[in-house]
């Protein structure tokens, strides 16, 4: 039914596409803007910035979030920084260089035109955020400071201590609340989107459930914008917040929106390992620690000695050994995979033998404890708070954890999905990071989409509907969607099984981590494709959801989210199995060089895989969007 996927990339040279396209897109005049209703689901960087900007333009905007306040969205937890091609450091940065680094970092699996536009608008984001009062780090002369980050040889990362995401989100949230006060944005908190409403093949609204009262509500609009984040919680243990989920995107997928590259997930190498079966989430420790810490494990299996009793001769500094040039500073995916290898060999450390040491004793001897304290004091404190161990005396223990998901709903150049009227922003879409995201690029993409891209492109879609009112919520399309939500709610409450939602989420997470984690192979993926549906079947038969529908019921909320994660997990396995190559965060053990490095297959896989829903019992159909590289030459990465 779908032809080959057309991303509708404008013609012209790379550096003029966006400028030309902005001029060629149709506009909606100010009087008409106030006749258009737009729903924005999600209030993180992408959602809040989009809603605020659309409100300023005069559209009638409705923001829906399941949080108690828009400020809680998980963008708030981003630590490191935000990239922008300002070249304030005079070190040779440019829009083209940021574009190039991002394409290369994504292992040549992202769209050139999108990434170039991202780099172009990155500079405007810094201006906008600064004007809002975001307190970026400054130098003594009062100008903005920068630092370097992985995958780049220039200093282009703007930061606000270790809380850049928090400060950028509070900036976007304040702009949003200003529009709420101005009456252009209507804010609905504790409202979870559970259905996308379709009419005549277009997205015309959503149905939500009020998480306090259980009320099922229809919301109608001329366009729906999803900015609902990523799906890292499919692993159960991840650095994502507890409530992060795929439900909004997945319900749109079930209505026809294509889901692209679900197997592209990013594992961050420096997280605190799980300490026990009750572990509820994992905490990231900044990647910057690898600048001074040395990573090692004992040479022999099950070495029971304390780390300070193990002499150098009995230690394996495995990254330094395998990658003498980059050592402990190899990229995220390489560091993660090697940690997994040594732990799988039985050389892991800590009570559960599930970590590797990150050792600062050498750096402290070299630079003194005071210097290390000045650089990393807050991180060391956080580590001690969580583990109860003093990293100034005992080496830290770290292990990789899921951190970000590059895959998401397929969108075209204008950030519209294949469903007309459905736009997708930020981590929820698939567009700009290819198979691997560079550090400090997630905040950039979320805000680029929300502040500077969607406000232009949405007008191009809406201008077709001048004078048309939004579909009335009394129409059958809404009644049907409301009924589907009501049926789902009562189904969960009537199962009366024996195990909790969290129990099944944890079990699912183990399968996904084992088979679709840092390294994948055909046998494991095939196992995933039989074990995940079996567990899902048990889940639907045996989950225990207590309580009622008309109160705050957290088990009920989670039940639907976990059901969607089950379906997503199966698609991840199928996508990973079909992509017979290794690229970025997707490492297929069958496709590696003799040295164990990722090996792409550019002849057969330089494309986006976008999956079409065919119903619950039929596997999705795989569509392709071919990626054309006209400006960048494809090369193999090496860090020896």
């Amino acid at each position: 039914m779908l032809g080959s996927l057309d991303a509708r990339i404008p013609a012209g040279s790379l550096d003029s596409k966006w400028t030309d396209h902005k001029f060629s897109m149709r506009l909606v005049n100010p009087n008409n803007k106030r006749r258009f209703d737009i729903i924005v689901v999600g209030s993180g960087l992408a959602g809040a910035s989009a809603a605020a900007s659309l409100g300023e333009l005069g559209y009638r905007v409705k923001v829906l979030t399941y949080h108690d306040s828009p400020r809680r969205a998980h963008s708030i937890a981003a630590q490191g920084g935000i990239n922008a091609a300002k070249n304030y450091q005079n070190d040779g940065d440019s829009v083209y260089r940021l574009f190039y680094d991002t394409i290369k970092g994504g292992d040549y699996r992202a769209r050139e035109a999108n990434v170039y536009r991202l780099a172009e608008v990155s500079v405007d984001i810094i201006d906008q955020a600064t004007a809002q009062g975001v307190p970026f780090a400054r130098e003594y002369g009062g100008l903005l400071d920068n630092r370097s980050f992985g995958g780049a040889q220039v200093s282009r990362t703007f930061y606000a201590r270790g809380q850049t995401g928090q400060q950028l989100l509070l900036g976007a949230y304040s702009a949003l609340m200003r529009q709420v006060a101005a009456g252009t944005v209507e804010l609905h908190t504790r409202s979870e989107m559970l259905e996308l409403v379709m009419h005549d093949g277009r997205a015309v609204g959503v149905v939500t459930r009020d998480l306090i009262t259980g009320e099922i509500v229809s919301h109608s609009a001329h366009a729906v914008v999803l900015a609902t984040g990523g799906y890292g919680n499919v692993y159960f243990l991840s650095t994502n917040a507890k409530m992060c989920n795929v439900t909004a995107a997945w319900r749109a997928h079930r209505q026809g929106a294509l889901f692209a590259n679900p197997c592209y997930t990013q594992i961050h190498p420096t997280c605190i390992p799980a300490s026990d079966d009750f572990q509820s989430k994992l905490t990231l420790m900044s990647e910057s620690l690898r600048n001074d810490g040395r990573i090692w494990v004992p040479l022999t299996h099950d070495d029971g000695r304390e780390p300070d009793e193990i002499p150098d001769a009995d230690r394996d500094y495995f990254l330094e050994r395998k990658y003498p040039a980059f050592g402990n500073l190899v990229p995220r995916d390489v560091a993660s995979r090697n940690a997994k290898t040594v732990v799988d060999e039985g050389r892991g450390v800590g009570p559960l033998r599930n970590g590797v040491y990150l050792d600062f004793s050498g750096a402290m001897t070299r630079d003194g404890e005071a210097m290390i304290r000045a650089k990393y004091g807050n991180l060391f404190d956080m580590y001690e708070r969580i583990t109860g161990e003093d990293p100034y005396r005992v080496p830290m223990r770290i292990y990789p954890a899921t951190h970000y998901t590059m895959g998401g709903l397929w969108v075209d150049y204008e950030l519209m999905s294949n469903v007309p009227g459905l736009f997708v922003l930020g981590e929820a879409n698939f567009s700009d990071h290819g198979a691997n995201r560079l550090g400090a690029s997630a905040l950039m993409q979320g805000l680029a989409d929300g502040y500077f891209i969607l406000p232009y492109t949405i007008g191009n879609y809406l201008s077709d509907f001048l004078g048309d009112p939004a579909l009335a919520t009394s129409e059958p399309a809404f009644a049907g969607a409301e009924q589907a939500v009501a049926d789902e709610v009562s189904r969960w409450l009537s199962i009366g099984g024996t195990r909790s939602v969290d129990h099944y989420h944890r079990e699912l997470g183990k399968l996904v981590w084992d088979y679709i984690g840092m390294a994948r192979n055909k046998t494991g993926l095939e196992k995933a494709l039989s074990e995940i549906p079996a567990l899902r079947e048990e889940y639907h038969r045996n989950v225990r959801v207590l309580g009622s529908a008309d109160t705050l019921n957290q088990s009920l909320e989670k039940a639907g989210r976990v059901a969607d994660l089950f379906e997503l997990a199966e698609l991840m396995a199928r996508d990973a199995l079909t992509r017979e190559e290794s690229c970025g965060g997707h490492f297929r053990e069958e496709h590696q060089t003799e040295e164990g490095e990722a090996m792409r297959d550019d002849d057969n896989f330089t494309h986006v895989a976008a999956w079409e829903w065919n119903g619950e019992d039929t596997p999705q159909t795989r569509h392709r969007e071919e990626l054309e590289f006209e400006n960048v030459e494809l090369t193999q990465r090496s860090y020896k």
């Binding site: 708030i76 955020a129 009062g133 400060q167 702009a175 990231l284 109860g388």
Partner: protein, 255 residues
């Protein structure tokens, strides 16, 4: 090293916003001292579900101390006994075998209980909507380096901006004032050059909106003690100063 402890919990249970609430006692046995406080509650909830009882409703999200979603009164202290630590970052090694722990929701009339330990904090959003922003439309910003900001100023503004909006200051305050929350946002913006244009309008509007919903500050200082981000009470003094000035300046401008 981790060990296992046995605890007795007295937890506030309230079926809904209008329902009567009461303390219910639970034995929490065999809890690892490596568990976080919220993971301890997760364990208790799993056991409740196994027994067919509805789990205790409490809110959390990032569990890294930055989103501000969590917040419990633990033995009468907002966020519990560890200074500068949100509930989600508190670990059970702060407790001993045999301890009795009283767990309540934030206590403030402006934070009505929704269920069990979850409260409605929308009044804080109303304070931000009243003026907690710099009015700059998307696309209208000048180059970020056009206006230098002294590093000390930017750092102090950041100290205020670090507020996570959890509401512990309100819960800890004998008057249920949201003065520290309000002052942190007012001063974050009032300190910066970008925030000067709306300084006086912002201060008046935010302080008065705060007074609409919350109690008044009488300088107890409990808020600073409870704040998981250790935001200093100095910001309240500066805001009081700005508020008096604002009343004069705003009247002049109107007159």
């Amino acid at each position: 090293m981790s060990s296992e402890i046995n605890l007795t919990l007295k937890v506030w249970r309230q079926p809904g916003p209008l329902a009567e609430g009461q303390f219910v006692t639970y034995e929490a046995s065999g809890i690892s001292t490596d568990a976080s406080f919220l993971e301890m509650l997760d364990i208790v909830n799993e056991r409740l579900i196994d027994m067919g009882d509805e789990p205790i409703v409490f809110e959390s999200d990032c569990r890294e101390g930055i989103c501000g979603t969590c917040g419990l009164m633990i033995n009468g202290q907002a966020h519990g006994p560890q200074k500068g630590t949100a509930t989600c970052q508190l670990h059970m090694r702060s407790f001993s075998d045999g301890d009795h722990i009283v767990i309540e929701p934030w206590r403030a009339t402006s934070f009505p209980v929704l269920r069990d330990l979850a409260v409605d904090r929308r009044a804080m959003d109303a304070i931000i909507a009243a003026g907690g922003y710099i009015s700059v439309n998307t696309g209208a910003a000048p180059d970020a380096n056009l206006t230098p900001v002294p590093k000390e100023t930017a750092d102090t503004a950041f100290d205020a901006a670090a507020c996570i909006g959890c509401g512990a200051c309100v819960a800890a305050c004998p008057n249920s004032a949201a003065q520290l929350f309000t002052a942190a946002k007012v001063q974050h913006l009032n300190l910066l050059p970008q925030g000067q244009a709306q300084r006086w309008a912002r201060t008046e509007a935010m302080v008065e909106t705060m007074e609409e919903f919350f109690g008044s500050c009488t300088n107890h200082g409990e808020c600073e003690e409870a704040c998981p981000k250790e935001i200093p009470i100095d910001f309240i003094a500066w805001t009081n100063r700005d508020y008096i000035k604002a009343k004069v300046k705003n009247r002049k401008l109107a007159g």
